[in-house]
């Protein structure tokens, strides 16, 4: 038996049983081998179900289960950190013919992934509203903000935050249009918030290390700065200010 043949047969149901795999009487044991094959498929499917709850809700449990097996055979985890398994899912969905009519699905998967990354991201200590006020008093445009490690931005030409809310909370039916989701984790539970395109560009600028003034300028659209800042503060997402 080589481990390579064993591993190949686990991920490929058409592959021949690896040589030298026997039952206690020395006979070939395909059904016994299939216990391992089933364990691999079902345990990785469970990991994907946990990782992509919104995608699963949109396509249905049965379809998701079948799609997960196609995915995991082509993209087995490369890390033992299963909590973050599924990096390749958005790209896989972009090319997976049976969901080609659901154009928003890859971005929904990106949002599910961002929520999961946020859940496991490092803790941080936020600035309170008054600490923030005190620090930016002088020249707000010249300030750089340090944002919480649990913050994520997902920009999409689909209404992804509304799609998420409709599925998670029974929110209203999403209306067509692009949305940016800002994932904040004030304590332990991440939540996506809807931002305008300009708001999303502003946050991206801050994440890239630009000043508030530069980020606003680069945003190229109307940005309700007080609203964005108050969202960041209430989401405990500003952890430092430097001039």
């Amino acid at each position: 038996m080589t481990e390579a043949a064993f591993a190949r047969a686990l991920l490929d149901p058409e592959a021949a049983l690896p040589a030298g795999i026997i039952d206690p009487m020395g006979r070939p044991a395909p059904k016994r081998f299939s216990v391992y094959r089933n364990n691999v498929a079902s345990s990785l499917t469970r990991a994907l179900e946990a990782a992509f709850p919104t995608v699963r809700k949109l396509v249905g449990e049965e379809f998701f289960g079948a799609m997960a097996v196609v995915f995991l055979r082509a993209h087995p985890p490369r890390s033992r950190m299963l909590m973050l398994y599924g990096d390749d899912m958005p790209g896989f969905l972009e090319g997976f013919q049976p969901v080609a009519h659901l154009g928003y699905l890859p971005d929904v998967a990106r949002l599910d992934q961002a929520m999961r990354q946020s859940y496991h991201a490092a803790d941080s200590t936020p600035l309170s509203g008054s600490e923030f006020q005190h620090l930016v008093n002088e020249d707000i445009g010249g300030c750089r903000l340090s944002l919480a490690p649990a913050l994520r931005v997902v920009r999409s030409s689909w209404p992804i935050q509304s799609i998420w809310a409709a599925n998670a909370d029974g929110g209203p039916a999403p209306r067509p249009g692009s949305e940016t989701a800002l994932v904040l984790r004030p304590d332990f539970d991440p939540r996506p918030h809807r931002l305008s395109e300009g708001g999303g560009a502003l946050i991206q600028g801050l994440l890239d290390g630009a000043t508030l003034g530069q980020s606003l300028e680069a945003a190229e659209g109307p940005v309700d700065l007080p609203a964005v800042l108050s969202l960041l503060i209430s989401g405990k997402a500003i952890i430092g200010v430097s001039a």
Binding site: M1, L11, A29, R32, R78, L82, M83, A121, A122, D123
Partner: protein, 282 residues
């Protein structure tokens, strides 16, 4: 934090920790005297999992049980994963650390199952090297768990007990005796579980696992048990366990229930059953 540095678990009942039981455990742990976590679930950077673990570690001795090292595999051990394990054991200072005689990674793909290996002098040397590396990097003695198996290998030349005992002798590691795995493998391999346990070096056992399994049958209609960790421990396994502690003395004993996880009261009742068997042996 509770002083975890004694580096041994109490000879009491423990359970595999599931986040849905967090409040129930803190309210009334019943007979449960320690908790086991799967190392990989606590290798994130922060958030609720680590916050809960810090709380639990103030109240209970913790056993870190790895499922992803692939000690039995042909690949070199994953350096990043070993360092994550070292980091976890560093800040948590758990009372025990254990892993499996199995492989789970090939050519960089992580298969998320505990896969079997043939027992030969070549695999023995390889696994011993891997255990040496783990113990050197994590900086502590580990316990190695006997697997549940569904197939046999034509090339196997050594018995499993002999293989485990020799690994312990070469590396100084201890053993984790999973009595359900002994039963499951015994039925699946046409071998007598009691004979396996009679030969097992009980003095090296730092921890015992008990869990539930499912029943199936193989291509030829032979009974085939599946180590599912999704139901109660069966009576024949309790009987084997009783004889183990009668012979070897009380040992830290874990109830494993990883799938279809029940309400806390059901899991606590299983732990209580183990605790009642442990007491007269103590």
């Amino acid at each position: 934090m509770l002083d975890q540095t004694r580096q041994s678990l109490p000879a009491r009942a423990g359970v595999g920790y599931k986040p849905q039981h967090f409040s129930a455990i803190l309210a009334d742990a019943g007979a449960v005297g320690w908790l086991e976590i799967h190392a990989e679930n606590y290798m994130g950077e922060g958030g609720r999992p680590l916050a809960q673990l810090r709380h639990l570690a103030e109240r209970f001795p913790i056993s870190v049980h790895g499922v992803g090292l692939s000690i039995g595999g042909e690949d070199r051990l994953d350096r990043d994963h070993l360092l994550r394990l070292k980091h976890l054991c560093g800040w948590l200072e758990p009372a025990s650390f254990s892993e499996h005689l199995a492989w789970s990674t090939h050519d960089g793909a992580y298969l998320n199952d505990l896969l079997p290996l043939p027992y030969t002098s070549a695999t023995l040397a390889r696994v011993a090297d891997h255990i040496d590396e783990v113990q050197a990097i994590v900086g502590r003695r580990m316990l190695l768990e006997n697997p549940s198996t569904y197939v046999a290998f034509a090339e196997t030349t050594m018995g499993e007990v002999e293989f485990l005992a020799e690994l312990a002798r070469r590396t100084g590691c201890g053993l984790l005796l999973d009595v359900n795995n002994v039963y499951v493998s015994g039925i699946n391999q046409n071998a007598d579980p009691q004979a396996y346990l009679d030969a097992f070096p009980l003095d090296l056992v730092g921890e015992i696992h008990l869990g539930g399994h499912d029943e199936d049958c193989d291509d030829l209609g032979q009974r085939l048990l599946i180590d599912s960790h999704g139901v109660e421990v069966v009576d024949p396994v309790w009987a084997l366990y009783s004889r183990v502690i009668a012979k070897g003395g009380p040992r830290p004993t874990l109830i494993e229930w990883d799938n279809d996880v029940p309400d806390w009261t059901i899991l606590a009742a299983e732990a209580d059953r183990a605790a009642r068997l442990l007491e007269p042996a103590g």
